[in-house]
Symmetry: C2
Subunit: 304 residues, 2 copies
């Protein structure tokens, strides 16, 4: 099959990029690596069994949302009003179908809701009370807002409230990009946003083309300073450059990170023929990559 | 100045693209043309006096929002719940600064709020109750939700409720793109969305890169079937193609409209050196174009 240049399945996941201190407490480091490894292994198993890219990114992001270590689903950061407002997006590169939600307070897994919006409504994006009413109407699992609380994020909000300028955002948005064994691409991203964000703020994560994008040539999920990813329409820019530059996803991600401010965050991406990419300009990025050639790694800083 | 290839100021505005019937009632046709002409003349005056592109797009969209004929601000369509949920975005191409709002119910001019989010907060996008609280905190003019009501849109909702599949959406989102006499580019778009939309639905208009985008080379505002513009990240795609194809804004808009479904809507755009562009694949588009070379036209169908 000379036309088929895909090199088999591949997957990258992230648990966020940001000012992750080099001296992160060993217990937290170990817990993050164990969690990322288990989730990445699950993705590799699904893909080696032939699962559809869209199902795999959803399943991996559900697991990342359920993991309280990361800033999505349980473990989400707090707004300046001390609440959670979650957002997520999912996109199928082979059809350009996509779904997104924002301002979610009671839906246990926002990425599930995003996929339902994509597949069961005529719309792409629902926010706030309308999105929650829709979740109720389709019977999606709801939780009390306090279910998302963790001590770690409460302490971050307290540090933010005392000195907003001093809090270095650790990020911890989660995401996944996948190429399945049939060569289909998909991307998904989910987050609580940034600690101390204004109520109602929507970041890059649920904005198609900004924090999340997939087409027939590239799937992309971003993490970091959301507003920078929005003004550069970063995820779509990566897909466009991967298509036009001849340098694939890796060259495209490098170029887009270089065009944005220093330390802005990180991007995971995968194209039709190369190893999955996970690059960042911030201090660290919780991340993992695996593919059908035997690549398997989970990292936090630049150890690779 | 051999480096300065701008041909002076230029402006395009739209009052939406969609299934505008060829036999639109003469009184409505005349009222629309009179309104577009007055607004375009105002833009031409501001630009010939040297106003900043960002100020001009905001001012023109405020006037289009205030005009009850169009689906933005007063005259906005109704959601399936019989309410208004307005959205808007504005972007300065010379800085990539941008602001956007969605789910607005009581702010008289959503585009003003979008500009305040851009210039006075650390965020780009605010939605729903948080956006309205912010509007309250800065003293922006508020109105009762019923202030946006018009008989024309109420009748559209009734037709939609009786037979959703039969209502041909007329569109009528509003927008403006400008190149000022210093060569700076800006874009702004505002809408009530689509008649009968689900509560909480966010369309392409306030999504940076989808319905609205501007960079140093091109400013873009879209109108039509919002979900199609989202999945194609249409406004950013136009800007990328204008930059890379050598065919400028006109060639880029043609290419992006061709890549989307038939009758999807229309796009206005302006680059650094050519006449403003207003093209559409739908039955019609309320539109106007003017520039410093003497171009001045307002049209609804393909009369040009």
């Amino acid at each position: 099959m000379p036309e088929e240049r895909s090199r088999g399945w591949g997957v990258a996941i992230h648990g966020g990029a940001g000012a992750i201190p080099a001296d992160i407490p060993p217990a937290r480091r170990e817990a993050c690596i164990i969690s990322l490894t288990a989730i990445l292994e699950h993705g590799a198993q699904l893909l080696s069994r032939g699962s559809h890219a869209l199902d795999v990114v959803e399943e991996l992001v559900i697991r990342l949302e359920n993991e309280p270590l990361f800033n999505a689903g349980r473990g989400a950061v707090f707004t300046s009003a001390g609440e959670h407002e979650l957002e997520a997006a999912i996109m199928d590169g082979s059809t350009l179908d996509c779904g997104a939600v924002a301002g979610i307070r009671t839906v246990r897994n926002p990425i599930r809701l995003a996929r339902c919006v994509m597949q069961q409504t005529k719309h792409i994006m629902l926010a706030g009370a309308g999105a929650e009413e829709y979740a109720e109407s389709i019977g999606l699992e709801r939780v009390e807002p306090s279910w998302f609380d963790t001590d770690h994020r409460r302490a971050e909000l307290e540090r933010y409230t005392e000195a907003p300028a001093l809090l270095e955002q650790e990020g911890s948005t989660v995401g996944a990009v996948v190429r399945d064994s049939a060569g289909r691409l998909a991307a998904a991203t989910s987050t609580g946003g940034m600690t101390g964000k204004m109520p109602g703020r929507i970041g890059d994560t649920p904005l198609v083309g900004c924090g999340t994008y997939a087409d027939g040539g590239c799937a992309v999920s971003c993490t970091g300073h959301g507003e920078s990813f929005v003004r550069h329409v970063a995820a779509h820019e990566v897909a466009v450059l991967a298509r036009s530059s001849g340098r694939g996803a890796e060259g495209a991600v490098e170029q887009v990170l270089e065009a944005m401010p220093d330390s802005v965050g990180g991007i995971i991406a995968i194209d039709r023929e190369s190893a999955p990419v996970a690059l960042f300009s911030s201090r660290g990025m919780y991340r993992g990559r695996a593919d059908s050639t035997g690549l398997f790694e989970t990292l936090i800083h630049g150890e690779a």
